[in-house]
């Protein structure tokens, strides 16, 4: 249905940004985690967004060729940051190595906060897009009243 397509697209962006927010929250929560199941400090994670065709491409092709060009956003994976862990000198720490250094997660709290702001704003923008689409539909229903 044409009227709800923009809502579906914005909805996919809302989902994607929520997942991004969750990932960033996990990063912040584990900014000082030195132990993980796979061993070593926690590694920073980030989402990877990918554009996917909105609706079935075949149907779009049959109905109108313009609709086939629109795409939703989808999270295709959560990737680990390969940056080296931060080495902090703290000989009293339980996980300090022989030289007294502790491998801390490769997370900059400041960067994560900024990313969080960006995610929040992106979410807001898409929520606004949904509302605008709704306003458009309401205005359509007011035609000829």
């Amino acid at each position: 249905m044409g009227m709800f397509k923009s809502m579906a697209i914005s909805g996919s962006a809302l989902s994607a940004n929520r997942l991004r927010m969750n990932t960033l929250s996990a990063n912040l929560a584990n900014a000082n985690t030195t132990r993980t199941e796979e061993g070593g400090p926690y590694k920073r994670r980030d989402v990877v967004f990918s554009a996917t065709p909105a609706g079935s491409a075949f149907e779009d092709f049959l109905n109108d060729t313009n609709g086939a060009q629109l795409s939703k956003v989808k999270v295709v994976g959560i990737h680990e940051d390969t940056k080296e862990p931060r080495m902090v000198f703290d000989p009293t720490h339980a996980d300090a190595n022989a030289d007294g250094y502790v491998a801390m997660p490769n997370i900059q709290v400041m960067t994560e906060m900024v990313n969080m702001l960006a995610a929040t704003r992106a979410y807001e923008a898409n929520a606004t897009a949904v509302n605008e689409a709704k306003q458009m539909a309401i205005k359509t229903l007011e035609i000829g009243r």
Binding site: G11, L14, S15, V130, K134, L141
Partner: protein, 111 residues
């Protein structure tokens, strides 16, 4: 203007009216069997539309239920479903208003 020209003009108009009448009759004859044979009359379209609106309402309802009972924490999906249900319902109400208006217009027609 002489009487004869007025008379011929009136005859012309009458002929045109007859033509239109026969044309509409032809169209009605063509239209009526097509609707019954195809099985997709206006009424059925309306019914399927109503069923769709009802389905959307139900979906939004169950999603709200799941959200409030903690089965689901997908807040924005629920909001989207509710918005879609609201809009489809409004569309249905508008269609009903138009149909009723048309009906009343016909009923007001002097016979």
């Amino acid at each position: 203007m002489s009487i004869s020209t007025a008379k011929s003009a009136a005859q012309e108009v009458l002929a045109q009216m007859r033509e239109i009448q026969s044309e509409t009759r032809k169209r009605a004859d063509l239209g009526a069997p097509a609707a019954s044979e195809g099985g997709s009359s206006f009424m059925e379209h309306l019914k399927s539309g109503l069923a769709e609106v009802n389905e959307m309402q139900k979906r939004a309802d169950s999603m709200a239920m799941d959200l409030s009972s903690g089965k689901n924490d997908n807040l924005h999906e629920t909001m989207l479903a509710t918005t879609q249900a609201e809009l489809t319902f409004n569309l249905m109400v508008q269609l009903r208003n138009r149909a009723l208006e048309a009906y009343q217009e016909v009923m007001r027609m002097p016979v």
